[in-house]
């Protein structure tokens, strides 16, 4: 009992350790990939910040330079000044304290009519919404607008000249930004992909990302084009797919390890259970056998003693006693033979001696040896044998097998009163059939009755003494002859055992 507890405890501990290992393995790989991912994200974030700062700095630089250059007193040079910048500027406005465009205070890169239209647009719709008047002196401000579906970027500042405020507003050429600056910054040769998207998540620059399971970083152009965001992601879908594959492989390996451990334990458990069952059966067998041996011994001893001490009523009785002794000796001898043969099987030593023999003769001898027991049990056997049935066999072993089948019938099917023994050649085989008319055997027990030590339920309940090895022996002998044994039976209608061996190859 204690050993069972120990085994169970061990199994539980092994399973628990395996589970713990699996858990740690999994969380380690998960951790690893998280850390990897975090690393990648950090790098990308830094990069994104770099790019954003770079781009914004460019814009801001240009704005600042212009702010510095422009002199409200000499606006006639405005155009030249702007051109001198060689910067992507769409237009420049210089506004007076009343927020009206000062004379010559407008330069535009747009063609003629468009420029004029834009000027009106600027004055009427844009100026009112730019936070010009509140702008701290000499400080730059930016506003990113969408007007009539078009984006505009204005950089502005407020200054004083001659005690009066004036405003400089620079319109960055966004088309140029997107078409030239962005490509510069987000070069094609990079393991990363870039996008610039607006508030509606529409693409301003870049191509749609696809197949990336890895992180995407977003950063807003906080100061200048504040309605746009920069998106960065890992370019190579193959790499992230590879990572995903690796993770999947890790999981599969861990899973397989768990499965192997669990099934290994399962196999162990089964083996342990089988061994325990075999041991239980074996000890039952030993107690059965010892009882089976002692009963005939007691009878022999008793009657022998009575004969020897003269406790007999007369010579007739003495003869009867002598017969009983003889009969029981035979029974004892047969049981001992069974046990010894069985012990040989257990040790794996099979001493079968094959020679040319006659199955009919074997059956006949078995019937002869059983005649006394049959008579005592009040049973009759009908025999149906051909004159001869040659085969290659071990005479003693095969006789023992048939004897065991007949004995079983006598032991367990005595109620049926009849046993039918027949042998015939049929389809390349020689079959020996022993049929009884006893209680029969449940179908679910048919495969088990040939197991060593196993005794059918029906006979276990009424202790008809048996060791459980008879049929196991029969099967072993049949198999050693290259054949087998099977049973057909329905409960209540007896049982038919068929022992078959291969027929000798046709002569000639």
């Amino acid at each position: 009992m204690r050993r069972l507890l120990v085994v169970n405890a061990l199994i539980f501990m092994v399973l628990a350790s395996a589970a713990a290992l699996a858990y740690y393995g999994y969380s380690y790989t998960a951790d690893l990939s998280t850390r990897e991912r975090a690393l990648v994200e950090d790098t990308m974030r830094e990069l994104a910040a770099e790019k954003v700062i770079g781009i914004e700095s460019q814009i801001i630089d240009i704005d600042q330079k212009l702010f510095a250059t422009i002199d409200p007193d000499s606006l006639g040079d405005l155009a030249a000044a702007v051109r001198a910048q060689q910067a992507p500027i769409a237009s420049v406005f210089v506004l007076g304290p009343d927020l009206h465009i000062m004379p010559s205070g407008y330069v535009s890169s747009r063609p003629g009519d468009e420029a004029l239209d834009f000027r009106s647009l600027f004055e009427e719709q844009i100026v009112p919404i730019l936070p010009l008047t509140n702008q701290p002196e000499d400080r730059r401000g930016h506003q990113h607008l969408i007007l009539h579906g078009r984006p505009y970027l204005f950089g502005f500042t407020r200054r004083q000249a001659h005690g009066q405020w004036y405003y400089v507003v620079v319109e960055t050429d966004l088309l140029h930004l997107v078409a030239s600056v962005f490509p510069q910054f987000f070069g094609p040769v990079s393991p990363r992909l870039y996008q610039v998207v607006d508030d509606a998540d529409e693409l301003v620059y870049g191509a749609p990302f696809f197949g990336s399971g890895s992180a995407t970083i977003e950063l807003r152009f906080a100061e200048t084009v504040s309605r746009w965001r920069l998106r960065v992601t890992q370019r190579d879908p193959a790499a992230s797919a590879a990572r995903g594959r690796r993770k999947a492989i890790d999981l599969v390996l861990i899973g397989m390890a768990m499965v192997i451990i669990t099934s290994g334990l399962g196999v162990l458990l089964l083996a342990v259970r089988r061994e325990r069952r075999a041991n239980a059966l074996k000890s039952e067998f030993i107690s059965n056998v010892s009882h089976e041996l002692k009963t005939p011994l007691s009878i022999i001893s008793m009657f022998g003693e009575m004969l020897a001490s003269g406790r007999v009523k007369g010579p007739a009785q003495a003869t009867e006693y002598a017969e009983v002794i003889w009969r029981e000796s035979v029974r004892l001898a047969r049981l001992i033979d069974n046990v010894l043969d069985f012990a040989k099987i257990e040790r794996g030593v099979n001493v079968y001696e094959f020679a040319d023999g006659d199955v009919a003769e074997v059956c006949g001898r078995a019937v002869e040896l059983s005649s006394h027991r049959l008579h005592n049990a009040g049973m009759a056997v009908t025999v149906d044998l051909p004159a001869e049935l040659p085969a290659r066999l071990d005479g003693n072993a095969l006789t023992l097998a048939v004897l065991n089948l007949i004995d079983n019938a006598i032991k367990y099917a005595a109620d049926g009163k009849k046993i039918e023994l027949s042998a015939r050649a049929s389809g390349g085989r020689i079959e020996i059939v022993v049929r009884d008319f006893g209680p029969g055997i449940d179908a679910d027990e048919h495969p088990r009755i040939f197991e060593r030590f196993y005794r059918a339920r029906a006979v276990r309940l009424k202790p008809i003494r048996g060791s459980g090895i008879g049929l196991a022996l029969v099967e072993h002998i049949a198999t050693a002859h290259g054949g087998g044994v099977r049973v057909a039976s329905t409960p209540g209608h007896g049982a038919t055992f068929t022992l078959w061996l291969p027929a000798p190859p046709a002569a000639g």
């Binding site: 010892s290 009963t295 008793m302 003693e305 009575m306 009424k462």
Partner: protein, 234 residues
């Protein structure tokens, strides 16, 4: 010359299912002059015991319909006095003790000697006849032993004594305060020197102590005299 089986013959019930053994026992016992009845199952045996009222029961432990120990207990329950001798192939000490605990008076392992069995049966009957008349009661400590009823009584408590338990107590009482050797116990009570083994005597003493003593580890009435045997201090 076989003894005659007559009206006054002792009746022996054999409960055994192996027909040859039954035959042998019947022949041997009737040769001795006993009247013998045999039954092959525990159920039939119990019924016959009730109806026929045997003077002794021979009981086999391996029966087709029941476990021999249970049959023994059932027999005891119905009749605390009739001697029961168990026959069986099992010879482990534990099995013997179990049999005696179930209420048997003796235990015979197969194969057994017919002469020995008959001697034991005769010994039992001799003792029985000697005590049949007496209505003896005697005291051991706070218990009262009733030899006819085979009981131990103390106030409202009443325990049964088996045949041999009573015989052991009686012998020890005859020699009260005197040590009786195991061999003497064997010979005088069981009637045969050398068997049952002296361990069986010890087992009986243990059973008696369990029934009589307050503290089995420190017995006050049935004392062990090391090197000799046992003595009773009433």
């Amino acid at each position: 010359m076989p003894a005659a089986v007559s009206e006054g013959s002792k009746k022996i019930l054999v409960i055994e299912d192996e027909p040859d053994i039954v035959r042998g026992l019947k022949d041997a016992l009737s040769f001795e002059g006993f009247a013998v009845e045999a039954r092959g199952t525990g159920g039939d045996g119990l019924r016959a015991a009730g109806e026929w009222g045997p003077d002794l029961v021979l009981l086999d432990l391996m029966l087709p319909d029941d476990n021999g120990y249970r049959v023994c207990e059932a027999l005891r329950e119905r009749d605390p006095i009739t001697p029961i001798i168990i026959l069986t192939a099992k010879a482990q000490e534990a099995d013997k003790v179990r049999g005696l605990d179930a209420g048997a008076d003796d235990y015979v392992t197969k194969p057994f000697s017919v002469a020995e069995l008959i001697a034991r049966i005769n010994a039992i009957f001799r003792r029985q006849s000697r005590m049949a008349a007496s209505d003896e009661t005697f005291a051991i400590g706070t218990w009262t032993v009733n030899a006819r009823k085979h009981t131990l009584v103390r106030g409202r408590q009443s325990k049964r004594l088996t045949f041999y338990e009573l015989e052991v107590l009686k012998l020890l009482r005859e020699r009260a305060d005197e040590a009786v050797s195991r061999d003497e116990l064997l010979e005088k009570v069981w009637g045969i020197p050398g068997s049952p083994t002296s361990r069986t005597v010890d087992n009986f003493i243990v059973k008696l102590r369990r029934k009589l003593e307050e503290d089995q580890k420190a017995p006050r009435h049935i004392l062990t005299v090391y090197g000799t045997g046992y003595k009773l201090v009433p």
